[in-house]
Amino acid sequence: MNRYFYYLLAVNMVAHIITSVPMVLFEARKGGAIVSMILSLILGTIMIYWITKIFTCFPGKGYPELLKEYTSKWISFPLLLSTALVWFTAGLITVITYSALLRRFLTPEMPLMGIISMIVLFVSFGILMNSRSVLYTVEIVALLSIPFTIFIFIKMYLDKGMNWDFVREAMMYIGNMPDYPSFSASLYVILGPANLIIFNRVFTDKQKMTWKQLLIIGITGAFALFTSYFIPIGFQGFQHINHLVHPWFLTADSIRMKFGFIERVLFIFALVNLAVSFLSILVHWHVTTELLKNIIWFKKFQWKGYNLTPLVFVVLFWIGSLVIIPYLTEPQLHTYTEYALNFLSPYVLVILFSLLWIKKRARA
């Protein structure tokens, strides 16, 4: 696969730590969290491998094009609509979570509406760009911010505050039966390449998906999951970690850079994560817009030769975020995110099966 594939992978792997994914896992820490993580890692990797493999058979074609070509309108329309909804929700979760975080840690004086508008304003410009530019942006921002993330991770692993006894304690629960919420939450971590449903359009050359790629996905996924679960446990202890609202931010605030002119790592972590979360929103909502373009398109809605239909979607996004976010309290946000995650990650199975069917029809 070309390198942009890995950026899509990396964005989800880093961006998930500010969403409710770690919290869902911590709730099941005395249940089957670890087993679910392992299971989802294996299954997720296989699913991603499979999806990507199918997309490599159709270079330059996205999911909507494939659906239109090989299925009837009655199947493609509901599928595209539900996919768009799922992707919109995935983006929305990140917007909500991050605006709550910003209000708590970085801009406490700013009204929530202001914070949301600020994020959505920049996102709206981004999602209207063509897919190529989105990928270039993802690449540049990821290249600038992922080294910082890795630096912070390494610093955390080596920090004195990291108590490996807690990790060992957590490891004791490895024998429990897996449970569904933590399974689907940890599945979300490696599902970044599912964005290929649109971005495969720009991968016009024949790509290769071999066991090497499989290995990369597996290893980085394992590292990301391990880090996002065990580091907060190592810092905050095992017993009551589920009471923390933002476990990762508090963990980042537990370490300091003795000689840096920014002493608290929290701020570097917050800004880097803001960048990566932004990418996550951008990617998800770009996919949503592109999917919606295939369902709804007003041919006559034009102004000076530009079709204004995508702007309608942007307005919908604005309304969606500005109405939903202030309405939610933080506990509600957490509960709904958990519901959404329960539903989101397995939705990839739907995509996988429809793709398998498409492949079968394409061969016939």
């Binding site: 942009y4 801009t107 410009f125 981004g126 690449e139 540049i140 720009v202 920014i262 002493e263 803001l274």
Partner: protein, 449 residues
């Protein structure tokens, strides 16, 4: 003879058109059985050349036939197409000779602008020191002298509905992208401007879009840069009367490369490039960062630093963004003033400006000490950007980021920077993506997207 009547008619038309000019000359030469008429504009032709090439041989040749054959063989002879063309060439410095009922046009232009200038804007420490001249012939000559490849092609166009300037389009036939070339050609043919005075203006009218900030074509005065880009397959445009060349297409990274980068050792170049990118980053971010840090999130810095920032602001009677805006505006005024002022006075401007930007403003408790450092750092790091146009774009862009930081703090600043990246990746220069990272080998880089 029909030919002669047509020629007489043309002459009469030209004379009528140009008669009001006192410097227009119609001269009859006659000796024994030989006769010829010269038409030219005295102020634009080179008198010595005219005397040597045209007038003297006339009196030395045996017959009109000899003289005509002689004129036809001169290398400076020009092709005659239309009456209108004739008159335009006359105003540029050609002479028309009427002999045996036939018109012959020779180029005996007097050019006062062909001396090669020393590079003044993009200077290098070690490397070619001379830049272009203001004469297109000399400039083409300079390029050809440095690029001896038979595939180098020069196409001459004419731009300006009134100024009729010559414009040379140069490219290497083998490496140039045909798509870009066609776009440039089409672009040049569509120009409707009556007068184009400079290449920078040409660049602006070529880009068509009204609201632009970042340059998509590079304007350079360095011959080595032109040659380097020619060999890389880019298109170069030279305009008569301007010592700058346009290079197209150009992407973001081109504007941060200096020619020194090709001359120095590897690690030195990497270091210099790093400094330049850092300079651009500082000059974009520092003003906004100051506002964000001092007004929104002083807790980001370690306590001592936060205290010294806050301490230096003691006694300043307004919020930080006004302070920054005030100082930045003074700095921009200073830069603008030193560009516009005559060279004799510009020293005064810097001295006076230095006083304002220096201790006086701090002592008056109008701005903080740290603000002075930041403004100077912004100004200095801005000048580290080697190409002037990117320089000015960044100068404007920092105010946008300052505005975003003012309304939404450090988070807004981060988003603003990402927004800038998005805007840049969204642009394209003649179909080439404007901002895109190149990290793989060339063949792999173009694979896929």
């Amino acid at each position: 003879m029909q030919r002669s009547t047509k020629a007489t008619e043309t002459i009469r038309w030209i004379t009528k058109q140009l008669k009001p000019n006192t410097d227009f000359v119609e001269k009859n030469m006659k000796i024994e059985r030989k006769e010829a008429t010269l038409l030219f504009i005295k102020t634009v032709v080179d008198g010595d050349q005219l005397q040597k090439l045209v007038i003297k041989p006339f009196f030395e040749m045996d017959s009109e036939t000899h003289y005509e054959a002689y004129l036809q063989s001169l290398p400076s002879q020009q092709e005659i197409t239309t009456k209108e063309k004739l008159i335009i060439e006359l105003t540029k410095g050609s002479v028309i000779i009427v002999i045996r009922g036939q018109l012959i046009m020779l180029d005996v232009k007097k050019v006062n602008t062909n001396n090669v200038l020393e590079a003044a804007i993009e200077t290098t420490t070690q490397g070619p020191q001379y830049a272009f001249s203001e004469d297109i012939q000399t400039n083409i000559n300079l390029v050809r002298q440095r690029y001896h490849e038979p595939t180098l092609t020069v196409e001459i166009f004419e731009v300006g509905a009134k100024s009729h300037q010559a414009l040379a389009l140069m490219y290497d036939r083998e490496t140039v992208s045909q798509e870009v070339l066609n776009k440039v050609r089409k672009n040049l043919k569509e120009l409707k401007e009556p007068i184009i005075q400079s290449t920078v203006e040409l660049k602006r009218v070529m880009s068509k879009k009204k609201y632009t900030l970042f340059p998509k074509m590079m304007v350079t005065e360095r011959t080595d840069r032109v040659v380097y880009n020619l060999s890389g397959g880019k298109v170069v445009i030279l305009l008569d009367g301007d010592p700058f060349a346009i290079i197209a297409p150009c992407v973001f990274f081109d504007f941060l490369s200096a020619m020194d980068d090709n001359y120095y050792p590897y690690f030195v170049v990497k270091f210099l490039k790093g400094i330049r990118y850092l300079g651009m980053f500082f000059s974009l971010v520092l003003p906004g960062l100051y506002v964000a840090i001092s007004s929104y999130n002083p807790e980001i810095f370690r306590v001592q630093l936060a205290l010294s920032v806050a301490g230096s602001r003691v006694g300043i009677p307004y919020p930080s963004f006004i302070e920054v805006l005030f100082m930045l505006l003074i700095m921009e005024l200073l830069i603008e003033a030193s560009v516009r002022l005559p060279k004799v006075i510009s020293g005064t401007a810097t001295t006076v400006g230095g006083l304002i930007l220096g201790t006086a403003a701090t002592e008056a408790a109008l701005v903080s000490n740290i603000m002075i450092i930041i403004v100077s750092a912004v100004a200095i790091s801005n000048f580290a950007i080697p190409i002037n146009e990117m320089n000015t774009a960044v100068r404007v862009m920092k105010f946008v980021l300052l505005f975003i930081a003012t309304i939404s703090g450090i988070a807004g600043l981060t988003l603003g920077l990402i927004g800038l990246v998005m805007y840049l990746t969204h642009l394209n220069s003649f179909g080439e993506p404007y901002l895109k990272v190149f990290i793989q080998k060339k063949a792999n880089e173009n694979e896929g997207i």
